[in-house]
């Protein structure tokens, strides 16, 4: 969920922008010039994946997939998500310019955290069920953390936002299981079809050039 312009307090906006700048700097440092086309096209793919609507009972939810993005891109998720959200703000007016920092942080930090917590499961040679379980955890935790961070950003702006913040977190709970399941199935598919895509972050730089 993107927080709109004009809602958050200046201190929250500044803190979000500062932390995002740091994260993007780390991500860009790890992004070689040769990798820019593939990172750009993958972030376009995630942009499109976020337009996929998944039925959930009477309603439908749209995918977030920041867990999978973290699994595939690691720290590079920060610049990829920044660009994706910037584009969404420009094209559809989801989120906005002043909230770009906070929104990027809320999506990208969980991606990076989950990459460190569960990324090892995607390495070459792990067993099938280990991959499935870690990918599920990665997908669901990334969405959960994002929901909590969105709620927290609202709460930090003012106590009055507490009910809305609670609702946001509650709304993320069912999505969490769907995301986890889809991330696990997607990782399973990638392991069979294109394992290098999943393992890209774990191969030493020199060996990955072909």
């Amino acid at each position: 969920m993107h927080i709109s312009e004009g809602v958050l307090s200046p201190s929250v906006l500044v803190a979000g922008a500062a932390l995002t700048t740091a994260g993007v700097a780390v991500g860009l440092k790890r992004l070689d010039h040769e990798e820019i086309p593939s990172a750009g096209i993958l972030s376009a793919a995630f942009f499109v994946a976020s337009l996929v609507h998944v039925p959930a009972g009477p309603a439908s939810v749209h995918l977030v997939m920041n867990g999978l993005l973290g699994l595939i891109l690691g720290w590079k998720a920060f610049p990829a998500i920044l660009v994706g959200l910037g584009l969404q703000a420009l094209l559809f007016q989801f989120g906005g310019l002043t909230t770009l920092g906070v929104n990027t942080l809320n999506m990208a930090l969980p991606a990076v955290i989950c990459y460190y917590l569960f990324g090892w499961g995607a390495k070459a040679g792990t067993r099938q069920h280990v991959l499935t379980i870690t990918a599920f955890a990665c997908g669901s935790c990334a969405v959960l953390f994002s929901g909590v961070m969105v709620g927290f950003s609202l709460y930090l702006t003012g106590e009055a936002f507490l009910p809305a913040a609670k609702l946001v977190v509650a709304a993320h709970l069912p999505v969490m299981f769907i995301e986890g399941g889809l991330t696990a199935a997607c990782a399973f598919f990638l392991r069979r079809v294109r394992p290098e895509l999943l393992e890209g972050q774990y191969v030493p730089k020199s060996a990955s050039q072909f």
Partner: protein
């Protein structure tokens, strides 16, 4: 196609240097985002509306683009009037709407709409790739600008790929529902989208290397600051300063 309508038009806003527009919009957004006073917010809203009138954005487009931000605002209107303590204004059953809460929600609504209106004036009058070049000219990190260009360029291509895959499963009788089969199918669809995208990325990269790509993108159009650009920038700076002073005098 995903993306904005082609930015055609010959208004003053269309002809301004994109760099000036980006600086002006960022400045406006920041000033309005930190303001509190209704006078300031209302004048900002007025300024935003006059800019968008000047840009000649069609009414329908404007309304359509304002929908996402106002859905979020609507969510806040459900909660905010009831989560303050103070002078009661109205009551809905056990819930009491409080003056402070209503004012707070109104403030947020004006703020977000003012900012988004100005953003719409920017994107409706400038093509997205021009914005990328302007960001480059404004010394945004090169890697970010390149990433932006690639994502912009391929969002539409990959969206077509997605539509193709979605049609393929539909032709085979797939009907989405709340079940494992649906989730698995959609997960594989996303997986296939990623696989095809990474193949395409490899081909694009090879093609670019063949054409001597060394990490520089060249723009055929060059930007130049005209008198009108400088004048608009100064006017915008003055107006923002005025809003800032208006906001600050409350504190003093």
């Amino acid at each position: 196609m995903i993306g904005n309508e082609v930015a055609t038009g010959d208004s003053l806003i269309h002809s301004l240097d994109p760099r000036v527009k980006i600086v002006a919009v960022c400045l406006f957004s920041i000033v309005v985002a930190v303001s509190h006073r209704f006078v300031v917010l209302m004048s900002a809203m007025g300024l935003g509306l006059s800019i968008i009138l000047l840009a000649g954005v069609p009414m329908r487009q404007l309304v359509r683009r304002l929908i996402p931000v106002n859905t979020f605002i609507l969510l806040l209107w459900i909660f905010l009037p009831f989560s303050f303590e103070g002078e009661p204004l109205f009551s809905l059953g056990p819930l009491v709407g409080v003056r402070e809460g209503v004012l707070y929600a109104a403030r947020i609504s004006i703020k977000s709409n003012a900012i988004v209106v100005v953003l719409i004036a920017l994107v409706a009058s400038t093509s997205i790739l021009t914005l990328g070049h302007a960001m480059h000219e404004l010394k945004a990190p090169k890697k970010i600008v390149h990433l932006f260009f690639f994502t912009c360029r391929y969002v539409d291509v990959i969206h077509r790929e997605y539509v193709r895959l979605a049609n393929a499963v539909k032709v085979r009788g797939f009907r989405p529902g709340t079940n494992m089969h649906t989730y698995k199918t959609l997960a594989y669809l996303v997986g296939m989208l990623l696989v095809r995208s990474s193949d395409r990325a490899q081909r694009v990269n090879n093609a670019m290397l063949c054409r001597g790509f060394r990490g520089n993108l060249y723009s055929l159009s060059t930007f130049s600051l005209k008198a009108a650009d400088v004048a608009s920038l100064i006017l915008m700076l003055a107006l923002m300063l005025a809003l800032g002073v208006l906001e600050w005098t409350k504190m003093a």
